[in-house]
Amino acid sequence: VKSALCYRGEKKSPLQTIGEEQTQNPYTELLVLKAHHDIVRFLVQLDDYRFASAGDDGIVVVWNAQTGEKLLELNGHTQKITAIITFSSLGSCEEKNQLILTASADRTVIVWDGDTARQVQRISCFQSTVKCLTVLQRLDVWLSGGNDLCVWNRKLDLLCKTSHLSDTGISALVEIPKKCVVAAVGKELIIFRLVAPTGGSLEWDILEVKRLLDHQDNILSLINVNDLSFVTGSHIGELIIWDALDWTMQAYERNFWDPSPQLDTQQEIKLCQKSNDISIHHFTCDEENVFAAVGRGLYVYNLQMKRVIACQKTAHDSNVLHIAKLPNRQLISCSEDGSVRIWELREKQQLAAEPVPTGFFNMWGFGRVNKQASQPVKKQQENATSCSLELIGDLIGHSSSVEMFLYFEDHGLVTCSADHLIILWKNGERESGLRSLRLFQKLEENGDLYLAV
């Protein structure tokens, strides 16, 4: 019976669908923004109402998130853009304008003035493509990661750099406390410490402090959870939470594997074939949970309970590329299938009379590859899964993979896609109200409004 259920679960995708009636979906207005000529991969927020988009066509476009107006177009790169970040000036600094840093496959990094589209400076001394950029606000420096790691100051002087690290290059880079950064290089995590000039020496330096070799496959995602920990995810579905201070492993989760009946016999082959399904593409987190985009599914990992508390094994038809947590317990995910879905994390009544087939748990199952994790584990998990992700809406507009999205509290959601488009999704009701407001403002300006006494 069990195998039959599992089989059904395999074949019949339990992709949750929602009908045309989506009462909780606030996005009833959309605006298609067209400026790019190739895949749009990155969106970055500049301030309350502006954002920049960048992609494979090498141009950066600055948009008004309120009106959808194209504000600026930054032309300079000859190849696709590989990383983009903003470098906002500190309050004390006399330079008030916001800088946009872009790295490209043409082995340059360009610094732009985000207000005037002026190209502040262009750095082209790189040996390899810069794949990630990080700003350390506290030190007022920024780092570029390619095959090596370079440290730059605001004036774009190279302060120091590491030796050649790897040919594949740094795939992710985050700042951790104690002037350290952690870089994901292949399967390894490398901790670097920055040495700022002190009374003794005037030179900046960057030192390798530690290498963490616990991942068995390439690390795809790396983010800070809070000041005390960061999380990494690998290609084969390993989720590791690290202590940010002593760089030890706090928790390890590798339970996204879906054991199929034949797993016991041909484990390795299956692993290879299915590995794409469990690679961790993206993380997001709030105070309590880490949300992971694992293959086509979404998983919620509770930091305190140190276990997965909710999941959607097949949240999308295809790999989930980006997820974000909204303040109102909502989670948004976008995927290669071209759709964006809105989920809500709901508390599940403990032991509610929900007829869950036993096989269901095997699908997203916690059955680790080992045989011992069979019945007892399952029972434990049954009681443990206390939340659920409910689909409350989907946004269909893109005709190709949705690469990324950006959420504005006031202006809605911006999605970018491989179909070269950016779509601005808005709350229709709120927009209608705002338009009325502006209408009467304009009437008043024109002197057409005579208020009745």
């Binding site: 669908t17 009908g19 045309e20 009636e21 989506q22 009462t23 979906n25 009833t28 207005e29 959309l30 605006l31 298609v32 067209k34 959808g68 809406g393 269909i396 507009g397 893109h398 005709s399 488009l421 779509i423 601005l424 808005k426 229709g428 927009e431 209608s432 109200g433 338009r435 009325s436 407001l437 502006r438 209408l439 009467f440 304009k442 009437l443 409004l449 208020l451 009745a452």
Partner: protein, 937 residues
């Protein structure tokens, strides 16, 4: 006084679709004697005069110096139009009223002939005998070979309707001035060219003569000149004189534009041209050799001829045609302008006036008029016209300046003489029959007159015609129209209101009238229709009366609580509660203000209306074949189950779909009617074989066609209502079909329901063959989509199903519609399949009037301050929302989905108003998460 021929012509193309009207035989004692002209095929309300032409046309005539007045061409150039109308005779008439025909001559103080740049004269005349009234526009063109260098021409707009000419005088004058200006510009160009050639000839002749004289001088050295030599010398002298004369003429003609066109808004190219000409004129006017060489270099193609002495003024020579006179390019432009005029003034005066009023009113409605009115066409046409006509005459030029420029003052009719002639019209009309023989004589007399004498004759005739009792009645000239519009002259004319007066009156009516139909009836021109005929006046009036649904007419400011209808009862009860709360603030304000409108009765169906003769059951038969299937986006059984659970059971019952209709019907009736209905549909649709729709049709025709096809759609498809609702609420409707012609036709028809974004073309894409994209739904609200049977078409269908939440899909091949449910009352009134309207143009007007009402509702909703903004700080958004809801429901009387229509229009209004400059950006795509249903026939 609607002229019958016009009406007939106007509706001709639709005649075949009208069923013959068979009246039941009346008992003998009740029968009225037949209308005397009925046998001729004339309408009973036609003018009794019995004009000999079938509809209005334009005639161009010339007063030829060889043969006298002669017609040159008519527009349209179709003998059927003017029929047996005597063009020759009428040419004589109209040519003989040119008061300003002034000729070039040697004025006393001048040594050379002077060209007089004469203003065109504009005259209205009537010929009661012929039943023809004409606006006559006289102009003179220059011809070097003509007597006095001038050729008098005139263009006449000939109509059987006197009032049309009188009331459209300003418009006619403006339009004809354009045509005339075009002709004259071309003529000046041609005349200058002719002069240049002539100068070259003369120059050549002079050289030849000079050499001959020299040879002769050498030949005889005797010290005296032979007679031959003297003759040669005289000849040479006359050639010299002629050269100077012609140079002077050239200078004059070239200086014209510079002088005359000053201050006019010309296109830059034209201005350059003029300056170029002027500068050229200044150089050529110098009798220098350099100028001559300049000329030769300019036109090397022309080889000068020797001019023989005394070769001029022979009568057997062929005069230049009008086309030769004015340069082919300008000539064709003029013809285009004239046929545009013919189009413009085609049809009944009532129609012309109403459409003028319409346009004037629409211009005032600048906030809402962009939604459904096709201003684009009009504006485009205007722009196009300005481009095509080289020099645009300015109508508003003060007459004093033109008088200054005229060396010889024009002969103007004094007001007094004009008035007397007007009075004579009325008398003359009765006398007319007796005068016939006299006129016959006159014609023969005139035609036999020698051209030379003819001019003198004309002079006499002209003067006489102003006040004498000839059959020509001059009713007015341009200068005297101002008098026309004054009230004192109104008494002497039957319908003397000028368009301006009519307009202002209508405006005041419109603001208080209940609907636009009333405007039609209060329009003074209605008085033209005799009361007796009003009842039988076929579609234009009666069909309006079949739509007297009271609640439709006006916006109700009184809360008229209609009984909640089936299917909305739940919502109704819910929505009613908040509405009670707000009414104090919303309705109270309204009644305080000046917006007090008469209350209207609650919703009534046209079934109760006596005009509708068909049994009220008739519409039910359709519902029988009306099924609703639930759409299955993903063929997923679980999702289908879910969606089924989501709806109350009664919605699954097809009979509830049109729940707003009368429900007390027996199935027996339905069945018995079904067959009859089907047959009637078949008969109406079978004779309308789809034909390719030509692109560049005039807007009138376009509207008519669109109206017809829309009407056909409504009658043919029982699910027309939800489809139209989709269009009105901004949900893109995709018309899917294999046959491009059919799809295009339907798209064109349905486009009349599509609100525009701004002052551009409607967001309609008539034909698309590639898969649709999200951009398309933002851009287009109505799309004709090609269904491809091949695997390539799978992509198209896939895209459609993917974006199904943004679209309604009308499948023409399978006769299905997939779209959200509609339960409102607005669309049934807009598109009633039982409508008595038969004509496309009438239906189009009906739609326009309904949509105008809708626009006014949307306007009110958009611009009511308290509906959108909190009245005080503490007010919550919910309260504002509930106020909006109750305003829409109670004050505007909107039911269910009708609310969405007004909300959508309101959003468009807001966007339009706020747009700083009409950019090219498309507005956002608004949509709802609502389930769709599949409708089948």
């Amino acid at each position: 006084m609607i002229s019958a021929p016009d009406v007939v012509a106007f509706t001709k193309e639709e005649e075949y679709e009208e069923e013959p009207y068979n009246e039941p035989a009346l008992p003998e004692e009740y029968s009225v004697p037949l209308f005397p002209f009925a046998s001729q095929g004339a309408n009973p309300w036609s003018k009794l005069s019995g004009a000999k032409f079938s509809r209005d046309f334009i005639l161009i005539s010339e007063f030829s110096e060889q043969v006298g007045p002669q017609p040159l061409l008519t527009i349209p150039n179709d003998t059927k139009v003017f029929g047996t109308f005597d063009l020759n005779y009428f040419s004589l008439r109209i040519m003989s009223v040119d008061y300003q025909a002034s000729f070039v001559g040697h004025p006393p103080g001048s040594a050379y002939p002077k060209l007089n740049f004469v203003e065109d004269s504009k005259v209205v005349l009537g010929d009661s005998k012929e039943g023809a009234f004409a606006y006559v526009h006289h102009l003179t063109l220059y011809d070097l070979e003509a007597r006095g260098f001038v050729r008098p021409f005139c263009m006449a707009y000939i109509s059987a309707d006197q009032h049309k000419i009188m009331q459209q005088f300003q418009e006619l004058s403006a339009e004809f001035s354009r045509a005339s200006e075009c002709l004259k510009t071309g003529n000046r160009k041609a005349f200058a060219g002719e002069l240049e050639k002539k100068l070259k000839d003369l120059d050549y002749t002079r050289t030849v003569l000079h050499t001959e004289t020299e040879i002769q001088k050498k030949a005889n050295d005797k010290g005296f000149y032979s007679s031959q030599a003297i003759e040669k010398a005289n000849e040479l002298a006359s050639v010299e004189k002629s050269i100077i004369e012609h140079q002077d003429l050239l200078k004059q003609i070239r200086s014209y534009p510079h002088r005359k066109l000053k201050g006019r808004d010309l296109c830059p190219g034209e201005m350059e041209h003029i300056q170029d000409q002027a500068s050229q004129a200044s150089t050529t006017s110098n009798p220098d050799e350099s100028a001559d060489t300049d000329l030769y270099t300019c036109r090397p193609a022309y080889t000068p001829k020797l001019i023989k002495a005394k070769s001029t003024k022979c009568f057997d020579k062929k005069l230049k045609t009008l086309e030769e006179l004015c340069d082919t390019e300008y000539f064709t432009q003029t013809l285009a302008q004239l046929s545009h005029i013919e189009h413009m003034f085609r049809g009944d005066l009532c129609y012309l006036l109403t459409s003028q009023i319409d346009r004037a009113l629409l211009k005032q409605q600048h906030i809402t008029n962009f939604l459904f009115e096709d201003f684009v066409e009009v504006d485009d046409r205007m722009v196009g016209k300005q481009e095509s006509i080289p020099s645009k005459p300015s109508q508003d030029r003060p007459p004093s300046s033109s008088l200054e420029e005229c060396p010889i003052p024009k002969v103007l009719i004094s007001v007094g003489s004009y008035k007397s002639s007007v009075e004579s019209v009325l008398i003359k009309m009765e006398q007319e029959l007796g005068d016939e023989e006299y006129k016959e004589v006159e014609v023969t007399e005139l035609s036999s007159v020698d051209p030379q004498e003819n001019l003198d004759y004309l002079d006499m005739d002209m003067k006489g015609s102003i006040s004498s009792g000839e059959s020509i009645e001059v009713l007015g000239t341009e200068k005297s129209t101002s008098v026309l519009s004054k009230s004192d002259s109104q008494a002497s004319l039957t319908v003397p209101l000028s368009p301006q007066v009519v307009r202002s009156k209508a405006v005041s009516h419109r603001t208080i009238s209940e609907d636009s139909i009333e405007v039609l009836s209060t329009c003074p021109s209605e008085a033209l229709i005799p009361d007796d005929f009003k009842a039988s006046y076929p579609s234009a009036i009666n069909e309006e009366e079949s739509y007297p649904d009271g609640n439709e007419g006006a916006i109700h400011f009184q809360a008229s609580i209609s009984p909640p209808e089936l299917g909305e009862s739940e919502e109704g009860s819910v929505e009613n509660t908040p509405s009670q709360i707000d009414s104090s603030c919303c309705i109270g304000k309204e009644s305080d203000g000046q917006l007090v409108l008469p209350s209207t009765p609650a919703h009534t169906h046209s079934d109760e209306d006596g005009v509708v003769s068909s049994p009220p059951q008739r519409h039910r038969q359709k519902d029988q074949g009306f099924r609703v299937d639930f759409s299955m986006e993903n063929a997923n059984p679980s999702s289908r189950d879910n969606s089924c659970e989501g709806f109350p059971a009664y919605e699954l019952d097809p009979s509830h779909l049109l729940a707003s209709r009368d429900i007390s019907k027996t199935s027996l009736d339905n069945y018995s009617d079904t067959t009859s209905y089907v047959s009637s549909v078949a008969s109406t649709s079978s004779d309308r074989i789809p034909s390719a729709y030509p692109a560049g049709l005039s807007s009138d025709r376009h509207k008519k066609r669109a109206g017809q096809n829309a009407l056909k759609f409504i009658r043919q498809y029982p699910f027309a209502h939800p489809a139209i609702y989709s269009l009105l609420s901004g949900r893109t409707l995709v018309v899917l079909g294999e046959d491009e012609t059919i799809v295009r036709k339907l798209v064109t028809a349905l486009a009349i329901f599509v609100p525009s974004y701004g002052c551009y073309a409607k967001p309609v894409k008539h034909w698309a063959s590639s898969p649709l994209h999200i951009m398309d739904f933002q851009k287009w609200k109505l799309i004709g989509l090609q269904r491809v049977a091949s695997p390539a078409g799978a992509g198209t269908l896939h895209a459609l199903s993917r974006y199904s939440r943004y679209t309604s899909i009308l499948d023409l091949d399978n006769k299905t519609l997939r779209c959200p449910l509609y339960r409102g009352t607005l669309v049934p009134r807009l598109a009633d399949h039982r409508t008595q309207i038969k004509r496309g143009s009438t239906y189009y007007l009906h739609v326009q009037s309904m949509l105008t009402q809708l626009c006014s509702k949307a306007f009110l909703y958009t611009f009511c301050h308290h509906l959108h903004l909190p009245t005080h700080d503490k007010e919550t958004e919910e309260l504002v929302a509930s106020r909006q809801a109750s305003f829409l429901k109670l004050t505007l009387g909107l039911v269910n989905e009708d609310v969405r229509v007004v909300q959508y229009l309101a959003e468009l209004l807001k966007l339009h108003y706020m747009q700083e400059s009409p950019g090219t950006s498309h507005p956002m795509l608004r949509f709802d998460y609502v389930p769709s249903f599949l409708y089948k026939i």
